[in-house]
Amino acid sequence: MKKQKLVVVGNGMAGIRTVEELLKLAPDLYEITVFGAEPHPNYNRILLSPVLAGEMTLADIVLNDLDWYKDNGITLHTGKKVVKIDRIGRKVIAEDSAGVTTEANYDRLLLATGSVPFMLPVPGNDLPGVIAYRDIADTEAMIATALTHKHAVVIGGGLLGLEAANGLKLRGMDVTVVHIGEWIMERQLDKPGADMLQASLESKGLKFLLGKQTEMLTANAAGRVCSIRFKDGAEIPADLVVMAAGIRPNTALAESAGLHCHRGIVVSDTLQTFDPRIYAVGECAAHRGIAYGLVAPLFEQAKVCANHLAQMGIGRYQGSVTSTKLKVTGVDVFSAGNFTGGEGTEDIVLHDKNGGIYKRLVIEKDRLVGAVLYGDTGDGGWYFQLLKEGRDIGAIRDHLMFGDAFTNNHVGDVGHAGNSKAAAMADEAEVCGCNGVCKGTIVKAIREQGLFTLDDVRKHTKASSSCGSCTGLVEQILASTVGGAYQAADRTTKPMCGCTALTHGEVRAEIRGQKLLSLDDVFATLAWHTPDGCATCRPALNYYLISTWPHEAKDDPQSRFINERAHANIQKDGTYSVVPRMWGGLTTPDELRRIANVAEKYHIPTVKVTGGQRIDLLGVKKEDLPAVWKDLDMPSGHAYGKSIRTVKTCVGTEHCRFGTQQSMSMGVALEKMLFGMWSPHKVKLAVSGCPRNCSEAGIKDVGVIGVDSGWELYVAGNGGIKTEVAEFLCKVTTREEVLEYSAAFLQLYREEGWYLERTVHYVQRVGLDYVKRCVVEDADNRKALHQRLLYALQGVVDPWRERLPGEGSPQLAAEFTPLPVPVETI
């Protein structure tokens, strides 16, 4: 098939990100041509500030070098500005500085022309020495001027102006920031925050003139700018004037081609302009009336746009909530959302003038809607997450101001207590305890490889790729290294993995809606980009299939992690561990004898009592597994699966002098009901006979506590990476009710949870109120959920029993038997 032609106008961050996303989805669909007015390959514009400040070099900030274009078969025209779009002839015409033209035909056209800086319309604004701050050329001009001249004036006290001023100061110039507003960064900060920021910049030697209106710029004898005069008559020397008074979407080209523009090139949720063959992304585009000036939204647009260019037609861009950070080393400012407050909003303010900390949180009806942080911005990412997700903060309102660590740490964030100030951490400080990655390594990778997302950092450094307890810290490091460009990982809107553009939620919905019954169905119907997925999506898909269509969908062992294929837990040396089930933590002398015999017979090096009230045989050779199971003659404990694990119990009224309910038999009944249940992540229960709670039901996925008048049910606790106390669901009176409610809750989680999402995260996502409505308030729904779980578990067989030596199918046996020694052929 002949390739279609895609032409990209604008070799900047949004345009090239879209191309990158497109290449991931459909590498062979288009013949791609890119035009860039600048003479450079795509670079990271936001890092111009550290370059100006002397913290990085231009070579450091290139995102895609020329080889990248070549390797991907992209024709790149640098230094050529597109001057005309011929929509009828479907071609663009570009010109270089010498006036030589180049033409390119297109089937689809992508406009990513960015912004043009706003130059104050005052006399003298075109004198030599008057520049904007937008690209490499501007940055180079500033660096050169600093070597030869003294006085710099920056017009505009916003993010860009302050970063320019800071850089010029560090390069040795005498810098004055002129700002028309009453306080600096008024679009991001309120007055108290801005005052503190100004004081700290003044202590670095910057000067400020606020409430000043520029009248004109005057030239010296050589024709170069030499001073700036204000409307009030005042005048100061200026050898360099940097205009940072705002940007305007660069729509000139689009307008000349007759495309509808209003505050930018108007685009739909699919990033199409009024001409459906023409797309626009980035700062030049206006989506629902907004043209964004930060990179995070542009990246989201790029993703959706690429999806439509790839002809997958899934995904819509629905606008972004943005946050900003000032990239001035040593000064921490963060702001997000609506921080000016207004009707119906309340403020929580912390103002520690001497300590140099100012924080303001704006709250509207139990939701965080805005945040300004100055001095200590460590929790910016956390607040931003709360804000974007619209989480109900009613319950944590009292602690909110003290940040994530305090609010969520009083019950433990193991391994990282007190380590919440990423920016202040030393480079050698260990961030990821599992993989031994320190902060310096992460920062280096972020800078050198141009990483923006948590996923990127995981892939390149391994940090946070194992137990995940350092995720928050890594996110903070990302945020403090790349500033506003940081994209918080967000499973709700993120594709499952590189094999698809669909999110977990979308995939679950499609599997249900279209009744997909096998992996091949999913790959074909949902247009997977890879022939057979990857190690991330396959186990998830397999679970979604079998949990959505029990007894109908095909379970694929090859799409399960080895533990669930071998029905034992792989160890670091390739041997396995075996944990037989002990219902409710109860055992018998006979079982113990068998365990002892097996341990001796198979030379099992370690026998250990687990934290789950049963016994672990560690270091079993894979070939021995079936025989070990046979000799044990006990059911699988599923200690290896995303499945029901254990039901811990205490002794209860059966023996205990305080017991109010029969916790042991309740626990056994629950465990028997749930035997063989697969779930998005592992599921653990506990039953205690009285509120002394010796079985630790308060940190279980389902916790049951006996009281005199019945049973209290708790859900969504977690004792692992981050201890989370279970939440009270309801109180019931009978044993049957305990079974029914627990089953209904777990079935809801099984049907709606995303793979590798523990109950605590599922409930945090959907809200406890929702769970209560489904499970407690709606009796019919509860019964239906309960029935669906029982149906799914009908006829479940013990996986060990199916695999005993000499029994079961040869296919199952093959998993455990090595092939014979190969025979030579002629």
Binding site: D532, C534, A535, Q558, G574, P820, V821, P822
Partner: protein
């Protein structure tokens, strides 16, 4: 010089799966991909010697069960950003029989 050895019939290796062939100190993992090609690798991950035979096979790659490195089956090389490689052995299918050169 290496000679071809008969290992098993193709269907004895699960689709998108592998079997282990005993060999000297470290066994050989023999993989069957979705398109019915076979590949043979030393059954030890270049990272910390994890048994690659126990990994998930996708495309012409296997993901190590221990720490998730992806290994290219044809070359034995770890996929970027990881680095390292494991030994490969020539393997092919002839008349439904898997052959391995040792």
């Amino acid at each position: 010089m290496s000679t071809w050895h008969k290992v098993c019939r193709l269907e004895e290796i699960p689709l998108r799966g592998s079997r282990v062939v005993p060999h000297d100190e470290v066994s050989i993992a023999i993989f069957r991909t979705a398109d019915d090609e076979v590949f043979a690798l030393r059954d030890a991950c270049p990272h910390k010697a994890g048994p690659l035979s126990q990994g998930i096979v996708h495309g012409h790659r296997v993901t190590c069960p221990l720490h998730g490195w992806n290994i290219e089956l044809s070359s034995g090389e770890a996929c970027a950003p990881d680095e390292g490689s494991t030994v490969t052995y020539p393997a092919r299918v002839e008349n439904g029989v898997v052959l391995l050169a040792l």
